[in-house]
Subunit: 360 residues, 2 copies
């Protein structure tokens, strides 16, 4: 999508034909800077420290991480070790394991001498496929969301965390339908959850919507339920880090609370995601591993002081212990529908089977 | 309650026999400082800027604010003007209007020359009554909460915002039962919601629990639903800013979301509040005015830098609009019971009538 009129992606091959470049998402919204990934370790670190984040982008980075690994050492041992290192970088988003498995299936049968080139080609294919999938999600989702518009105001959408183009390679998942509607001239306004503790809503979603010109308002995570109760939201749409075969949706912590409010208030609640996020090997969302991250993410906050200097401050008492669960599971019964590159389906085994011909 | 072994209250008459002193809650948890209120304007400012906050403490401060006003000018005109200024300071907590009405009923029949002394006596009575009410809430609530304890772990309580002694004069409302249990030797652990955007959980609840020695863990507001889903919470308890005659509970924004999760997960959800918070004049919570505060509270964050200097930083993009609704309404159907100084009752007109002999 555009940053003040200039098209960007989140990840691309560097001009030297060897390295990979990504937007450093830990510095947004205060600075837009590019990081170069020169080898496997850089890719693992970029995923673990959330320089890149968002399930589709984690998958794309893992694809390129395998290519960086093969350039340095295309041996069988390194192929296995590289895949293991990438999969271990974060536990919840299944796109990571999906991309590694896809590269491994391509590379393992090849002689080591051919692996570097093949891995680069496959990484590029993963990236282009993600772009095409996200664009298709935008088309299907735009039609679904538009059905909920009222004549007397712009379509009022609530989203949680960042499932925009910064979470993918381009377009995004949950925000792809929003961009599609906006670009088609349909008036739309997005209520952006702050998404504590890492503030992906405030730092990333608000930033990318502003840079593309989509009207939006930032709210605390606590506010969405009230807005739904008083009729200010027409539909909720979120991304996902892993969808189980029964349609349970794992997504950023707090998603479950918004889905409960949507169900209580009669507001439709959509999850938008590509095929790479669906884990047909897990029968239920209760089996999805939930990442616990360092409590420091909760106990400190980063921002600009009066002089524009970026500082990190401690916001809780010195001796406060914190717990930092990064994801939760929204039961399929609370999800109105799942939107994928193949269309819109019920959040159920039957719904997913209808689109993909697969069940657990 | 205690601050590192020393008993404190939130508000008390100054030693000079004229002024009033309060803890400045805008500086916590980074500094414990006392502010002197010398007249009506100071009292109004303390309420409006949240130097004092919490429904019972707002009521107590309004009681003392009327006394400060009468010391300066005991005329009928000033009696009316002082009450109007205090009531206008914040819209949602009914305790404010309750305390002003109570003072006005005492003072209006008196000759002006007797009003200053009478107002001081009534303010002191309001304060002592609040302390006694909160202590009684602690006794009734402790029995209710203890029934949910499991044998294999400390009682696991989730609370939202701050309804501890800092929100009242002493003991607190939602936390009074927690202190009663802890002081009686019952193992209890509190999950403390951060409570964005003003962070009363991180700044006040975590601070007061730590200073009194109650085990607790800070979590983002997004986390409570997940904890309930995985069985980590035995009961939720919150305070309230206004309870309608039908048992609807208005409280800090985000309370509704936790009540939804509690209902979905079969976790009991209690609201604890004194009589002064019940508005029998409002038939339904939908009629309660919901305060909207400055979006700056959401867009900036205050904390200590590496040298311990307290700084405020901007956390969102420069051009991000925000909305800041301060309260929401939890429908009575989601509230397991209401705990007051008179006992425990159903969240309904019949339940409240059973305790108070009144309906709307």
């Amino acid at each position: 999508m555009n940053v003040d009129g200039v098209p960007w992606r989140t990840i691309w091959p560097a001009a030297n034909g060897r390295d990979v470049e990504v937007i450093d998402q830990t510095l947004l919204p205060h600075a837009l800077k590019v990081q170069t990934l020169r080898g496997l370790d850089d890719a693992v670190r970029a995923i673990a420290t959330m320089i890149v984040r968002g399930a589709p982008l984690i998958g794309a980075t893992a694809g390129w991480g395998m290519a960086l690994a093969m350039q340095d050492d295309p041996s069988d041992a390194h192929l296995i070790a590289a895949g293991a290192a990438l999969v271990a970088a974060r536990p919840t988003a299944v796109n990571l394991a999906w991309a590694v498995a896809r590269q491994t299936a391509v590379l393992a049968p090849l002689p080591p001498s051919e692996r570097a080139a093949a891995a680069r080609a496959e990484a590029a294919a993963i990236v282009e496929e993600d772009v095409a999938w996200c664009a298709a999600i935008g088309r299907h989702g735009a039609a679904a969301l538009k059905a909920h518009a009222r004549a007397d105001r712009p379509l009022q959408i609530l989203t949680h965390c960042n499932a925009g183009w910064l979470a993918a390679v381009d377009h995004g998942t949950a925000l792809s339908p929003v961009y599609a509607l906006h670009d088609a001239g349909v008036p739309v306004h997005v209520w952006v959850d702050e998404t504590r503790p890492r503030n992906q809503g405030a730092s990333l979603t608000a930033w990318e919507l502003a840079r593309h010109g989509v009207p939006h308002t930032l709210i605390a995570d606590n506010v969405g339920g009230h807005l739904m109760r008083i009729g200010r939201i027409d539909a909720c749409i979120v991304g996902s880090d892993r969808v189980a075969a029964n349609g349970d949706v794992c997504n950023k912590i707090g998603t479950y609370l918004k889905a409960l409010a949507a169900a209580d208030c009669g507001v439709p609640f959509y999850a938008a995601l590509p095929a790479s996020t669906i884990d047909f090997d897990l029968a239920s969302g209760d089996l999805i591993p939930i990442e616990e991250r360092d409590a420091g993410e909760l106990l400190t906050m980063t921002g600009r002081d009066g002089e524009g200097v970026v500082r990190t401050v401690a916001i809780a008492p010195h001796d406060t212990p914190g717990a930092n669960f990064a994801f939760d599971v929204t039961p399929a019964r609370l999800v109105t529908a799942i939107i994928t590159e193949r269309g819109v389906c019920a959040a159920s085994a039957a719904g997913l089977a209808g689109l993909y011909g697969r069940t657990a």
